[in-house]
Amino acid sequence: MLSLRGVGKQYNGTRVLEGVSFDVMPGQIVGLVGENGAGKTTLMRILFGMGVIAETGGYEGSVLLDGREVRFKSPFDALAAGIGMVHQEFSLIPGFTATENILLNRESTRPNILVDLFGDRMSVLDRATMGLRSRKAIERLGVPLDPDTQVREMPVGHKQFTEIARELDREQVRLLVLDEPSAVLAESEAETLLAAMRKLAEQGIAIVFISHRLREVLEVADKVVVLRDGRLVKEAENESLSLRDLASLMVGRSFEGSSEARRPAERPSGAGFLEVEGLWVDMPGETVRDLSFSVAEGEIFGIGGLAGQGKLGVPNGVMGLFAAGGSVRLGGEAVPLNAPRRALEAGMAFVSEDRRGVGLLLDEGIDWNVCFSAMQLRDLAVRPLLGGLFKWRSDSAMRAVAEEYVRALDIKCTSVRQRAGNLSGGNQQKVCLAKAFALEPRLLFVSEPTRGIDVGAKRLVLDEIRRVNRERGTTIVMVSSELEELRLICDRIAIVDEGRLAGILAPEAPVEEFGLLMSGLGGRAAAPGAPAAPGRP
């Protein structure tokens, strides 16, 4: 029914998808599996004709529906052609009932005289027919969902069902794409969802099921497609696959001795320098629920995991940027949470993943960006006036410090007065590092240090992190979505899944171990028979 033929895509010269081909049959459930950045999102965007694709130069290859090539100009074209999509984030109106949401902007209406005068939108909603339609859609799904409950009063699972029912109301719907539908569901709700998916497949609807929960994929999918680095690495019938295969396929490249990480013997060990216990962080989209770990002095500690699982919440919570609870000790002393200043004073610094939002003052020069935090915290570039009554900001001293870091980190700029907003991504990242280095921290959190920057700059940034670790002895906690990069420089790597620690591995551990941990199959969520989470090396 749906066929992809050699689909590829570049964003500004960066290749994110190349030559992807596979078919989806009516009534078939296809599990689509891949790490973050593997190209799943881009593939779905192409399929749905999202504007961003056309704006960045279109795509290669072709999408065939029933053997005819289609090229959707907007998601509404895709919907008209019978493709429905349920996004990871809920797209529901909280004050509307399930029925109103299911039929959002497709309500049944009765025309009246005013329609002729002022247009279709003057027609009156036909609530009785709407109720029938939504009941029918819910019935097709076979779930217990009350059409008259307001969404804001529903449990999460029911919100998810409402979303799916919305797609089912379209009579012509033939293909349903579910993007991480189970990510927010409890175990029992997820079971109901899988059953509903099977029911839909029996009715002849094809389903593309995107999930990182490999066990669910194996349980429900007829066929599994694995994407990695923009390429299709495996397309196989379900029977022929095991969890372990899938995990290793997903995470990818087996790790050959090219590691630049310290050999196990050279790795720092000893009593916990940073000790985190029972940490919870309320960071939207990256919730940490219950996390404990400990980092040795001088170590480079990696935290990995898939997007949305909570790894980013760890540094943000510890540094006090989001509401958090639990206990954090640094060098034996308790660090209070929810107080950024106390965290900084304790000797911790943070290079945020949100460079433009949190990391930089986009409207100010490099000098301000580099020196500001250190000025506030340890009076860098401050000249006391009148015996310290006033603390005068010395612009010349700020420039001097900034120039020093520009040289040391090779930041490409016209001058240190250049606005940070005008720098390239890589140079912005270096400015962020310089800002953290200027604080002279004992412990440095680095979050997604290479996100959105080009390959050459990636290298430099990683080298810089390693250098500060070796030369200044700064303990590093590095959070990254890129497993390769963690394995490249870290001494140990923790994997976070659903806000909890899935396990801690050595960088040279087999790649499928990582994959299994990320897929919720290690530790807590382990299915019977799955390998237990390896302990600390």
Binding site: M319, A343, D363, F390, W392, R393, G421
Partner: protein, 347 residues
């Protein structure tokens, strides 16, 4: 061509039009029989009178609280200071100093509460500030009636109750700053040295503060609150501080205004102070999120220049009084422009 376009987009078209308009007014003035010297003198006097109140916008914009529609609070503090000083019967420099000092003290108090309030309504500051300002003016109007003032200069005669609507400061500190070291050139031009010095002094204080460590923190808090927070700054405290600072400037501003004007206007007087000040700083090139001292000087001069020149010049040309309408359109148009402009920094 490209550079011109860039200049226009940086500086903002409305501003350029207003500046050109003012130049045109000055050029046209002699031809329609309006004295340039006295116009300039008037403009400078009004520049000095209003400058500090325009300056009162700067700290709050810097800390990210937006335009200070709550200026009436500062004005009320200034009115309290001035009336209490008169009640105490102080005259001359002592009276003025007492008025200013009391005004600052009240402003600090009011500003603190106001700042705390604004911290709890982030994002809605401007609308709330407007109505908090209005309601405090009317509340204070009740105050002017019931407060136990005694001074015969201020209290209504026999049958009335409470304070007069306008109180003359003639017997106290009328033009005390204006006349300080005032320079007279010719018959029609007077340079109010003392008042301009006071304005410059206040501007210098703001400039100095913004160059301190804590002032820098305030700027960062306004420029990017998330960044500031991550740098260990208590953003709320910075905002409260900026509100206190702004309110104090507003209070000082109204006292300076009164000594030049010669009267204290109570009751609904403070209503008319806010919008001209907001409009002035925007005309000077500030936006809802960015403002500098230079914006204050330029904007106050342009706006007050237009206010001075339109009644005399336009009226002589068109034989009709368009100045009021021009003032309304220019000042509110400017604020509207600032509110609807897409801010450059993407959140």
């Amino acid at each position: 061509m490209e550079r011109i376009r860039e200049f226009v987009s940086d500086f903002g078209l409305p501003r350029i039009i207003i500046a050109l308009f003012l130049v045109l007014l000055f050029v046209a003035a002699p031809f329609v029989g309006v004295s340039v010297a006295s116009s300039l003198s008037n403009t400078i006097a009004r520049f000095g009178m209003n400058g500090i109140m325009v300056l009162a916008m700067v700290p709050m914009i810097h800390s990210g609280c937006g335009l200070n529609f709550g200026l009436p609070l500062g004005v009320i503090a200034g009115l309290l200071g001035a009336t209490i000083s008169i009640e105490m019967g102080l005259v001359g420099a002592a009276g003025f100093a007492a008025a200013a000092a009391l005004a600052l003290a009240f402003a600090a108090l009011l500003g603190y509460g106001y700042g705390k309030l604004l911290n709890r309504v982030k994002g809605d500051e401007m609308m709330i500030a407007t109505y908090v300002g209005f309601s405090s003016i009317t509340l204070m109007s009740i105050g002017w009636i019931v407060l136990p003032y005694q001074s015969p200069t201020m209290v209504w005669g026999f049958e009335g109750e409470g304070l007069r609507t306008t109180i003359s400061v003639e017997a106290f500190w009328d033009k005390i700053l204006n006349d300080f070291l005032a320079v007279r050139i010719g018959e029609r031009f007077v340079f109010p040295t003392g008042m301009i010095l006071a304005f410059c002094g206040a501007a210098l204080a703001v400039w100095f503060f913004l160059h301190l460590k804590s002032g820098s923190a305030m700027t960062a808090a306004g420029s990017n609150p998330a960044y500031a927070r991550a740098s260990g700054i208590d953003v709320d405290r910075m905002r409260t501080g900026s509100v206190v600072f702004s309110t104090m400037l507003g209070a000082l501003g109204i006292v300076v205004y009164q000594q030049s004007f010669g009267f204290i206007q109570l009751y609904e007087g403070p209503f008319s102070m806010t919008f001209p000040s907001v409009a002035a700083i925007l005309i000077g090139g500030a936006s809802v999120t960015k403002a500098s001292i230079a914006n204050v000087f330029l904007g106050t001069f342009l706006f007050q220049g237009i206010l001075t020149m339109t009644p005399s010049v336009i009226n002589s040309v068109l034989k009709t009084d368009l100045s009021e309408v021009i003032r309304i359109i220019v000042s509110n148009g400017m604020i509207l422009y600032a509110l609807t402009r897409k801010t450059k920094v993407a959140k």
